[in-house]
Amino acid sequence: MTVEIEDLHVGYAGRDVVAGVRLMAAAGEIAGLVGPNGSGKSTVLRTVYRHLRPTAGRVLLAGCDLRTLTPGQTARQVAALPQERGSDFELTVREVVAMGRTPYKRAFAGEDRADRESVAGALAAVGMAGQGARRFSALSGGERQRVLLARAFAQDPDVLVLDEPTNHLDVRHQVELLALLRDRRRTTLISLHDLNAAASLCDRLHVLHGGRVVASGTPREVLTPQLLAEVFGVRAAVTAHPLTGDPLIAFDHREPLAAGGS
């Protein structure tokens, strides 16, 4: 399923945080959103899973304007992994994953066989089979993120939207999570801070800066020293990764560029 974002504007309190974003993820494509803090990545993603309403422009799912769909219809096609990660309430892993079935259920409906299978399948897919009874709040950061991804899988979506899913994870858990997204590929919109991770995972990257897309293309096309200087305000060399051949960005960590890219 394709996702198209057309001339998207989103504002908080009269100020446009996203001002005319246009991007597209083809069916089955993993599209990465990268950019400095405050560039509008999360805001764009939030309009796709309908936490925020665009002030102008539109989001199309397989050519269909999101505004013509109910929240439930949208959630049967788009599953999100927002940055929220937790709760002081006593929920079990299984209950959190079963939340993914919400858009399929009417009021008062109990869980049926399909729900149970879907939840068990999603837990197995993220390597948490048999752990449904554990308390969500007692999980480690890596486990939590896997469970939240399982919830998204249980939603059986055509499109996955992930907002910085690797934040606060150690390297091993980051690699595991990205591998999982690659293995169970579907149309994906993902924001990532780690440009090397983005270069390895994504088919296409969209670079956001000041609420606009300033570059789009394959990681190799987009991640150039010039762009990194202009957008992120850092000096960097881009080489090929010795193990994978993906673009590998080596930052100069000693000091930022004088004028910055901002």
């Binding site: 939030r46 899973y49 309908r50 936490h51 109910t70 929240p71 439930g72 219809q73 949208t74 959630a75 049967r76 788009v78 599953a79 999100a80 992994l81 927002p82 940055q83 929220e84 937790g86 709760s87 002081d88 309430f89 006593e90 929920l91 079990t92 299984r94 209950e95 959190v96 939340m99 993914g100 919400t102 858009p103 259920k105 009021a107 008062f108 197995a124 993220v126 390597g127 089979a129 752990q131 449904g132 009874a133 554990r134 308390r135 709040s137 007692a138 999980l139 480690s140 890596g142 486990e143 896997r146 919830r151 998204a152 939603q155 939207v161 595991e176 999570l177 591998a179 999982l180």
Partner: protein
């Protein structure tokens, strides 16, 4: 993330599976609570200034339920006109407080939120206190004088909080709580002023008694409103139980699974606000039940609202019936206000359970 990936957390501390047994356990628990509630209701009708045997009580109740007319005799009067309505009112108010507590905690996403946080009870108190001080007799308005005034006050604060909470995109947990606390304090100021203006000691005493909550006003004619409100509230909330599960994970999570978050919060506030208004109108502001009951239930059956809502209602009902029985019978000479006892029992129980939970590694 291969299946062979071993997480150090799972191997180091294999957690027992308390939740695996939860679903059958929730059913058993509900049945047990139901039986306990019937037993508590029976005890509440049997015990008092004159004790009546359970067999006799049930025969009176069954005869009355069968439509038989009143039979001469004080037992009949005590059982049917005094104690049964009072025990039922206690159960209804307890069930209602359990429900509004559960829903409020989900609505503001805080397991320690109190339903009175949203200012409704302050409005009701002001209404009731104004009626007492201005000398509205308890018998006016079809015997609903105080309740009507309290409910009117509750509606005023509900409307004020609603108007403030909906502004600026609306009904976020923070806005709701700030609006509720602000309006609540504002109205409490007027209540305090009125209490100071109270003409005589008798008025002050009735005001205090009302503020602490009492089920003494129970008659058959006041039962129908809380009964209808609690039944409607339970249905309305249970229909939204799944959405509430998503809401406690966060607004974005809820939106992501297809919940219209603003609309859901608006509906929850409407249901809890009106139900709270009815409860406070008939019983005063009985504290701590709405905070404690959902929390206790959550510790036992977990956070899934599909189980939590009915169990909170049952637990609240049982608790209130027992507490009211204690209030009526603990002292020979006078009755204790229920709110005093709910706080004296409830707070230590809650602290004890929280403490144990923390040590167990929450």
């Amino acid at each position: 993330m291969t299946r062979t990936a071993v997480d150090p957390c799972t191997t180091a501390a294999p957690e027992e599976d308390p939740a695996a047994r939860r679903t059958p356990r929730a059913g058993l628990l509900a049945a047990g609570l139901g039986i306990a509630l019937v037993a508590a209701l029976t005890a509440a009708v049997c015990l008092g200034s004159t004790d009546i045997a359970p067999g006799h009580v049930w025969s009176v109740v069954l005869r009355r339920l069968g439509g038989a007319a009143a039979r001469a005799g004080t037992d009949d009067l005590i059982v049917w006109q005094l104690r049964v309505p009072r025990a039922l009112l206690a159960a209804l108010v307890g069930a209602g407080l359990g429900l509004v507590g559960t829903a409020t905690q989900a609505m503001v996403r805080n397991p320690l939120a109190d339903p009175y946080l949203l200012g409704i009870s302050n409005g009701a108190s002001l209404g009731a206190v104004a009626a007492i001080v201005l000398g509205v007799s308890a018998d006016s308005l079809l015997g609903l004088g105080l309740s009507a005034a309290a409910f009117a006050g509750a509606l005023v604060s509900f409307a004020l909080v609603w108007c403030i909470a909906r502004r600026g995109g609306g009904f976020s947990p923070l806005r709701l709580v700030l609006a509720g606390v602000g309006i609540g304090q504002f109205l409490s100021g007027f209540t305090s002023y009125l209490v100071l203006q109270a003409g005589d000691e008798q008025q002050t005493r009735s005001v205090l008694f009302w503020l602490m909550g009492s089920l003494g006003g129970a008659t058959w004619s006041v039962l129908w409103l809380p009964a209808a409100a609690v039944a409607a509230g339970l249905l309305a909330l249970q229909a939204r139980a799944r959405a509430m599960n998503a809401l406690i994970m966060g607004d974005e999570t809820a939106a992501g699974v297809g919940v219209d978050v603003t609309r859901l919060r608006r509906e929850l506030f409407a249901v809890t606000g009106l139900l709270t208004g009815v409860l406070v109108a008939v019983s005063g502001a009985i504290g701590f039940v709405g905070l404690m009951v959902p929390h206790l239930c959550r510790l036992v059956v977990g956070g899934d609202h599909r189980r939590l809502l009915p169990l909170s209602a049952l637990t609240g009902a049982l608790l209130m019936v027992v507490v009211d029985l204690v209030c009526r019978t603990a002292m020979d000479s006078q009755e204790l206000p229920v709110g005093v006892v709910t706080a004296m029992i409830g707070a230590p129980v809650l602290l004890f359970l929280l403490d144990r939970r923390m040590e167990a590694g929450a």
